[in-house]
Symmetry: C2
C-alpha cells in the first residue's frame, strides 16, 4: 500500500480561521418567519432556472454547525431532520473539514476516476477502512455506487445475474443468451420479478418505483414492472401490550409472501429477489419484528431467492446499531445490504456467492465518488473514536421514554410512539395536523419532518446528545401546546 | 444574491507547493509493462474487498497532470481516453485545484444539502454560471442529477408526466389516477413506452437498459420493458463519396421510427418519448446526419412525443460545439437535453412546457452534488476564457485529416475514419485486433480505448493541443507498425 501524502498543518490552521462555523449555538434563535425574506428572494431567483416546488428554505451552510442548521436569514434551528437523515456527524464537523484540505481529497475531486477501470492507488485502502471495517456480519464484499437508488438498482441486477446463472448450473451466459438479449427475447432477457412490500420506498428510478408503495405522488403517471407487492406488518404500540395482535400480523404477512412467490412462479415471472427495509421510513416508520425478518430469511433460503435488506435510511448508527438488521439474530446473513445517506457514499455489501464473474456487467463510468469514500473513512473513525453508536443507543432509549410521555400527555393528539435509538416517530390524527405541527415546530426553532400519511419523524445525526434531547422535548412540548 | 466568501490566497499558496503535480511531462515515459508490478499488487489487494474484473491499471492521481495520466508504477501516458471521456480540463487543472480550497466548496462537501428542499444560498447563482450560461438554444430550465443514468431516468419520468397531463387536458393527476397507481393499475400506472435505437447506450439502470442496445454483456440476464427500438443510420465514409447510400439510410431509419410509433400505439403502449444520442458512443461511434435528426424532430412534433437528446458523452465541447446537436439547425429545439461526464454534474435541460407543477415528483435526497456544480462553474469559466471549444474545433479538424491519412497508409488495417472535433474513431477488421492495438498503444505510452465491436475511439480532454496531436499520431503510427 502506498503511503498517504502528509496533511499540511498550515492549511488546516488557515482553514480553521476561515469563514466556516466551528461551534454550536447554545440554543435556537429565530428572528424572522421561516422561510424569511432572504430565503423567499433566493427561491424567486432559483425559480427562474430550476424547479422550486419542494424548497422549504435556503440554508447558509457556512454558518451551520453540529446539530444546528442556519437559514439564509440567520435563523438557527435545532435540526432533528438533518437533510433527510443524511448527515452522520451534523454540519461542518471539524474532522471532516480537515479531510477536505488533504491533497488526496482534492485530486479525487478535480481528477475523478472511472473507478471500475482506473482506480486510485488508495482505493482498496479506503474501502477497507470506510466500509469493510463496518461490514454487516457475513458480508465482506462491497460495491460503491453514487446513491441509494443506484445501489438498489445494481443490487437487483446482481440478483438477476445470479438467479440466471443458477438456472444454467452456475454458468455465465452462453451464445444463445447473448444473442437473444439484444432483441429482448428469452432466454437472454428473462421474465423475472422482485418482491417489495406495501408502504416500501426504495428509490425513484422506474425499476425501484416498481417495488415502491410509499405515496401516490411518487408513482403516478410512471409505467412500472408487474412485480409482486406483499403485506408488511402494521403493529400496534406499545408492543408489550399487543403481543398477540402483532404476532398475527407477522404470520399473515409471511403467508402473503409465500402466496405471491407461488403466484408469480405460476405466471412465469419468478421472484428472483426480495427487497425490504428494516424500518419503512419514507412510508411512515413502519417496523418489522425480528421474527418477521427471520421468517423472510427462511422463505428466501427455501426458494433460492436473493434477500436484499435496504438500509439506505436505517444504516449508519442512529438505530443504536451500525445496521438496523443487527438485532434480528438471523440464522444466516442477508444476501445483500444496500446503503447510502449517512454513509455518504451509496453502495451495497454482498455475499461472495453473488460476486459477478464477468467484467462490465456491474459497471458504469464513475461507480461512486472517491471524495465520499474519503469522508466516510474519517466519519467512521470519528464514530468509533467518540463512541457515537453507543451514544445513539443511550440517548435513543431516553428519547423513546420521553416520546411515550409526550404522547401520554398529548390529550390524544399523538399516537403510536415508536423507534429504535434516535430513529423515532409518532403519529397525528391527520396529515394536515402533522403538517401544521411541522411548520409550527420550525417557527419555534426545531427542524423536524414528516413521513407517511400522518407521521412525524425524528432523524438527528450521531452528534445528538442528552442536552439536545432536553431542548428537543421542550420545543415539542411548546409546539404541541401552541397547536 | 449573497456574496461568495473570499478565497484565501494563503491557502492557495500552500496548496501550490503541495504534492499535487502542476506541469505536464514533455512526452510519455514508460518503464514497466502496464499494468506494472505495483498496479498488479494493488489489484490483488482490491480484489479481496471489491470486484476488479474491469480494472486495467491503478492511477496515481496526485502525479497525473493535464493530458498525462501517471499509473501506480510511475509510467506517464498521453491520455486520449480521459476516464471514459469525463475530464473536461485533463488532470489536476490548477484553476480547479484552487476552487477546491474555497470554504463554500468545503462546506458543500462536508455538509451536503438535500437540495430539493434546503438548497445552498449560492445554488441559483451556481446554476446560472455553470449551466444556464451554456444552455442549449431554447432550453433555459435545468435540473441537476448525480450522473448520466439518473439524468436520463428523470428526463424520461418528466416526459411520462407531461404525456399523461396532455391526455388529461393539461391537468395534474386526479383522485382516480392517484388511487390506481398504488395498485399499478390504469389509469394511474399507464402503459407508455420510450423509443431507443439499435446501437444506443443510455445507461445501465433497468429502465435505461430497455432502450440500450450497445453490447450483449450490458443487457443479458436483466428483465426489460417491452419498448420499441428503431434503426439508426449506418453511414459509409468518407461522407462525400457516399451521399446517395447515406441518404437512403436516413430515409429507411425514419420510416422505421414512424412504423414503430404506429405499431406501439396499436399495442396500447404509446411512445411518449424518443431518446437518441447525437453520436452513438459506447455502441461504436455511429453518427446521424442533421437531416436525420431534423426528421426525428418533425416526427416527434407531429405525434406529440417528447424528443430527448442524450448528450452525456457528446456534451461539453469536444465535438467543436458545446453541444453536438448545435450544428443540426433544427426547426425547433429538442424538448430535453441530458448531460453528465465532461460537465462533471449530471442533469438535463428542458423546455418550460415540461416543467412539473407538483412538488416531490422529480425529487430525491441529493438531486446532484453542489461540489460538482462549483467545479463546473470554474471549468466553464476556463473553457470560455481559454477558447477551448474553438481549440477543439481547430485541433479536431487537423485530427480528422490526420486520421484519414493514417487510415490511407494502414494497408487496410483501418477503416471508416470519422469524427467531429477531437471526438473521433476508426474501425479495425476485428474486435480482437482492436483490443491488441489498444494494449500495444498503452505499452507505447498512448492511452486510448475501444467502443462498439471493433472501433477505436479518441476522447481527449479540452486541453489537448496541436503538440499533443503530433505526438498522438507518432504513437499511433508506431503502434500500427508494431501490430
Amino acid at each position: 500500500m502506498l503511503p498517504r501524502l502528509a496533511k499540511s498543518s498550515l492549511i488546516q490552521q488557515v482553514r480553521g480561521v476561515s469563514a466556516i462555523a466551528n461551534a454550536e449555538p447554545s440554543g435556537p434563535s429565530i428572528s424572522t418567519s421561516i422561510p424569511g425574506p432572504k430565503s423567499k428572494a433566493l427561491k424567486q431567483e432559483m425559480d427562474k432556472v430550476h424547479q422550486t416546488t419542494s424548497v422549504r428554505f435556503h440554508v447558509d451552510y457556512e454558518k451551520s454547525f453540529g446539530n444546528y442548521v442556519v437559514d439564509a436569514d440567520g435563523n438557527a434551528l435545532l435540526d432533528v431532520y438533518t437533510q433527510i437523515s443524511s448527515l452522520p456527524l451534523g454540519y461542518n464537523h471539524p474532522d471532516l473539514v480537515k479531510v477536505a484540505s488533504q491533497p488526496h481529497l482534492i485530486t479525487s475531486l478535480v481528477s475523478r476516476p472511472a473507478l471500475g477501470s482506473f482506480p486510485r492507488t488508495d482505493f482498496a485502502d479506503g474501502i477497507s477502512h470506510a466500509l469493510t471495517s463496518i461490514a454487516p456480519k457475513g458480508l465482506k464484499a462491497v460495491q460503491t455506487m453514487l446513491c441509494g437508488t443506484s445501489a438498489n438498482e445494481n443490487a437487483i441486477k446482481t440478483a438477476f445475474i445470479w438467479y440466471q446463472a443458477q438456472r444454467r448450473g452456475g454458468l455465465g451466459p452462453d451464445a444463445l443468451h447473448l444473442e437473444s438479449c439484444m432483441n429482448q427475447q428469452k432466454p437472454g432477457t428473462p421474465n423475472l420479478s422482485v418482491m417489495g412490500f406495501e408502504g416500501a420506498f426504495h428509490g425513484r428510478s422506474l425499476c425501484m418505483l416498481s417495488v415502491t408503495r410509499s405515496k401516490p405522488i411518487h408513482k403516478v403517471d410512471i409505467p412500472a414492472f408487474d412485480w409482486p407487492i406483499a403485506k408488511f406488518p402494521r403493529y400496534k404500540y406499545p408492543l408489550d401490550q399487543n403481543v398477540a395482535y402483532n404476532k398475527k400480523q407477522d404470520q399473515e404477512c409471511l403467508a402473503d409472501v409465500e402466496a405471491k412467490i407461488s403466484e408469480w412462479k405460476r405466471r412465469d415471472n419468478d421472484v428472483a429477489a426480495i427487497i425490504v427495509e428494516p424500518i419503512q421510513a419514507e412510508g411512515g416508520d413502519h417496523y418489522g419484528s425480528p421474527a418477521f425478518f427471520q421468517g423472510l430469511r427462511d422463505i428466501t433460503s427455501k426458494h433460492g431467492i436473493v434477500f436484499i435488506v435496504d438500509e439506505v435510511q436505517t444504516g449508519g448508527g442512529a438505530t443504536g446499531d451500525i445496521w438496523a438488521h443487527d438485532h434480528w439474530n438471523l440464522s444466516s446473513p442477508p444476501d445483500m445490504v444496500t446503503f447510502s445517506k449517512k454513509l455518504l457514499t451509496g453502495g451495497y455489501f454482498y455475499g461472495e456467492h453473488l460476486r459477478v464473474k464477468e467484467a462490465y456487467r456491474i459497471y458504469n463510468t464513475w461507480m461512486g465518488d472517491p471524495t465520499k469514500l474519503l469522508l466516510l473513512e474519517k466519519a467512521v473513525e470519528v464514530i468509533k473514536r467518540d463512541g457515537l453508536i453507543e451514544q445513539s443507543r443511550e440517548v435513543g432509549a431516553e428519547f423513546q421514554k420521553r416520546l411515550g410521555e409526550l404522547q401520554a400527555s398529548s390529550g390524544g393528539k399523538l399516537d403510536q410512539a415508536r423507534g429504535r435509538g434516535t430513529f423515532a416517530a409518532v403519529d397525528f390524527p391527520s396529515g394536515s395536523l402533522r403538517d401544521k405541527f411541522v411548520d409550527l415546530a420550525i417557527s419555534n426553532g426545531l427542524h423536524c419532518g414528516g413521513c407517511g400519511d400522518r407521521s412525524l419523524r425524528f432523524r438527528p445525526s450521531l452528534v445528538y446528545t442528552k442536552k439536545h434531547l432536553d431542548l428537543t422535548f421542550d420545543l415539542l412540548d411548546k409546539t404541541l401546546k401552541g397547536l
